[in-house]
């Protein structure tokens, strides 16, 4: 009787957990509030149009073109030239210390090039660990410099715009060659936020029963391990869907994240991803002795998920051992799927492999949790 899975006992567990989760204000605040807070926090980092970023300006010659560009840049509010006229090595040092986000270098031959009607160049080094900032700043630089040059030559604005094609800006993204943009961040953030909330919620589920003393009674009643496990994790699939809607909706509203691929594919992959997370959390709760331990396990799993999944650093740029660890995390595969589908319009055939790996996680985590589930208090 109890050896087989019973839908009605599963439903009893599901309903109980669902009511409890719904009634727990902290859970609710966390599930709804955390994505919003995170998005707003990350929103500053991925602001499309950041202003007043500290910049070092390197120039050596003192010709009228250089002076015009310097003046124009200084009065603009786009860059804040905190260090003007420093040497190249000083500028490098400043960037390494994090005191400037950009180094703009005006080559000494700019005057000769302009007079020779050659293509003048400006060099921009961007600290791309703060990646979103660079693209807007670079295009602003182009306009500012061109207008300045136009004024020196006494040209009209229209002609200056034509010349804009000619001014070349060479950008070096430092520290982060892949140059993750805000479009990459929001889908990744979806993965990270869900990893935090879903694993935490379920990691507490059994330890909470144990600490409240309700575990003994639950074990004394006829539900079996699979019914308890699924009954306890499935309510969070619904909450995960709510979270996903919030994050993707806000990503679209606040940051105009493109939405190229199939919405259904995104929904489905997110569901499988959340399923693997809640089972991972549940597995933690079968091994944790207290809520404190459950939290620690959750944090332990969170760190590699943020660092080694390709969310923070480009996956292919990591050393091999780190890539191997990354491959063992559901979030790595989820981020690949979601970036592929959302941003590049990948279809099922293209993300099928990654999706299959998520299913493997679901399967493996269930088995791990079930093998740790006890039917007695021993």
């Amino acid at each position: 009787m109890t050896h087989f899975f019973s839908i009605s006992r599963f439903y009893a567990m599901f309903l109980k957990e669902f009511i409890q989760a719904k009634r727990d204000r902290i859970t609710f605040a966390m599930i709804l509030g955390l994505p919003i807070i995170q998005l707003i926090l990350f929103g500053y980092a991925i602001n499309n149009d950041p202003h007043s970023l500290p910049t070092a300006l390197v120039y050596t010659s003192n010709d009228p073109y250089t002076r015009a560009i310097v003046t124009a840049l200084e009065v603009s509010d786009y860059y804040e030239f905190s260090h003007v006229g420093v040497s190249a090595s000083e500028a490098n040092d400043l960037m390494q210390k994090g005191e400037v986000s950009f180094i703009v270098t005006i080559p000494s031959d700019i005057a000769t090039r302009i007079q020779r009607k050659d293509k003048p160049t400006l060099l921009v080094a961007a600290d791309a660990t703060d990646p979103a900032a660079s693209s807007g700043a670079v295009s602003a630089l182009k306009n500012l410099a061109n207008e300045a040059l136009a004024r020196v030559n006494g040209e009209e604005r229209a002609i200056a715009l034509q010349r804009a094609q000619r001014l070349q800006i060479i950008v070096h993204r430092r520290y982060n060659p892949e140059g993750i943009s805000q479009y990459n961040t929001v889908p990744g953030l979806l993965g990270v936020i869900m990893q935090i909330t879903m694993v935490l919620m379920t990691a507490l589920s059994l330890t909470r029963e144990r600490e409240r003393g309700t575990m003994e009674n639950l074990l004394a009643m006829p539900a079996n391990s699979a019914e308890i496990m699924l009954g306890k994790v499935t309510p969070y699939l619904c909450l995960g869907a709510v979270q996903m809607t919030i994050i993707l909706g806000a990503g679209q509203l606040l940051f105009d994240v493109p939405f190229v691929g199939s919405l259904w594919l995104i929904l489905f992959s997110t569901l499988i991803y959340v399923f693997s997370l809640v089972l991972l959390g549940y597995f933690f709760s079968t091994i944790a002795k207290s809520q404190m331990q459950a939290m620690q396990l959750m944090v332990l799993s969170l760190l590699p998920s943020i660092l080694l999944s390709g969310f923070m650093f480009p996956f292919r740029g990591m050393p091999h051992w780190a890539q191997y660890i990354g491959e063992c995390l559901p979030i790595t595969h989820f981020i690949r799927i979601i970036r592929g589908v959302m941003l590049k319009g990948a279809d099922l055939s293209q993300v099928g492999n990654e999706l299959a790996i998520l299913f493997v996680f679901v399967f493996v985590f269930s088995l791990m949790a079930l093998s740790r589930s006890k039917r007695t208090l021993d």
Partner: protein
């Protein structure tokens, strides 16, 4: 035909680490009986009950519960018995009704709402069904827990200190309910550390520090202890109390108002010792009845001596 013995276990032993918490305990409970399981705190009552309802695996032991093998059929036993835990272990953040519905669903009781409504009605909680269980008083929580663990009509009910921390009126009502359940054919094993509750049981088992020390009706347990009691009455009882307690033939001296209960194992020696000490004072000595409490105190001091 099932045996008349609903619980029939022997040599039940449980160790936690190298500490033996239950030591070769035997217990027999007949169908329809209310058996009291008495003993001081930490003596192994909860552990024994958990082993008998399939929640803990005994290190050794044999026997049957409801005709099912104690060691092999743990899961089946668990489903067949009703077990009420010592600490309230339903969900504080679910309403009374939701708790009952949860249990009814797990036991697949159908139709669900009939079961839940009936239980609420018999509890007298129909109008408070939407109240959170956590907001109930101790006495009500215990009644709710009892109702919840008897909803599936188990043949054997194991109650672990159901009346601890409950006021006397609620305690009495609780015992009335236990008797109603027994009259309906349920067999009940109930642990307690209140002596007076022993009187409400058909038979009692007394456990101390993991050892089962006595079983039987209250009268049998008192008689088997071999203790005798004298009552010393008068103005000067407090003057002799110390001298009496120090006498080798006297086990216990307990004042009850102006009366001293003097207890010892040998009737003749007890009498001569008391007469000798009380001769110089204005005191009367008469034969008294040994109480269960006297017996338990002897058991406790004996088993403490054994432990040392």
């Amino acid at each position: 035909m099932k045996s008349e013995l609903v619980i029939d276990v022997r040599d039940l032993t449980k160790r936690f680490g190298n500490k033996t918490v239950v030591n070769q305990v035997a217990m027999q409970v007949r169908r329809g009986e209310i058996v009291g399981f008495l003993g001081p705190n930490g003596s192994g009552k909860t552990t024994s009950i958990r082993m008998m309802c399939g929640l803990l695996t005994a290190n050794s032991g044999e026997g049957t519960v409801l005709g099912l093998d104690l060691m092999r059929d743990q899961l089946k036993i668990k489903r067949e018995v009703g077990y009420m835990t010592q600490k309230f272990s339903f969900y504080d953040d679910l309403t009374i009704e939701e708790n009952l519905a949860f249990v009814a669903r797990l036991y697949k009781l159908k139709p669900l709402h009939t079961y839940v409504d009936k239980t609420l009605e018999s509890l007298g909680l129909t109008s408070r069904r939407k109240q959170l269980a956590g907001s109930l008083s101790g006495g009500w929580k215990q009644r709710l827990a009892l109702a919840a663990c008897t909803m599936h009509k188990p043949k054997l009910l194991l109650l672990d200190e159901p009346t601890a921390g409950v006021d006397p009126k609620a305690r009495r009502e609780f015992w009335d309910e236990i008797h109603v359940l027994a009259a309906e054919g349920m067999t009940v094993l109930v642990s307690t550390h209140y002596m007076d509750e022993a009187e409400r049981c058909h038979r009692i088992s007394y456990i101390a520090y993991g050892n089962m020390l006595a079983q039987g009706t209250v009268e049998e347990v008192v008689a088997s202890s071999g203790l005798h009691t004298l009552l010393v009455k008068g103005e000067d009882t407090d003057k002799v109390a110390h001298t009496l307690a120090d006498h080798p033939d006297i086990d216990q001296v307990a004042p009850f108002g102006s009366t001293l209960h003097v207890v010892g194992p040998n009737e003749d020696k007890l009498k001569s010792a008391v007469d000798e000490i009380c001769a110089d004072y204005d005191l009367t000595v008469e034969l008294g009845e040994t109480t269960l409490e006297d017996v338990f105190i002897k058991f406790m001091s004996d088993s403490k001596d054994n432990m040392q």
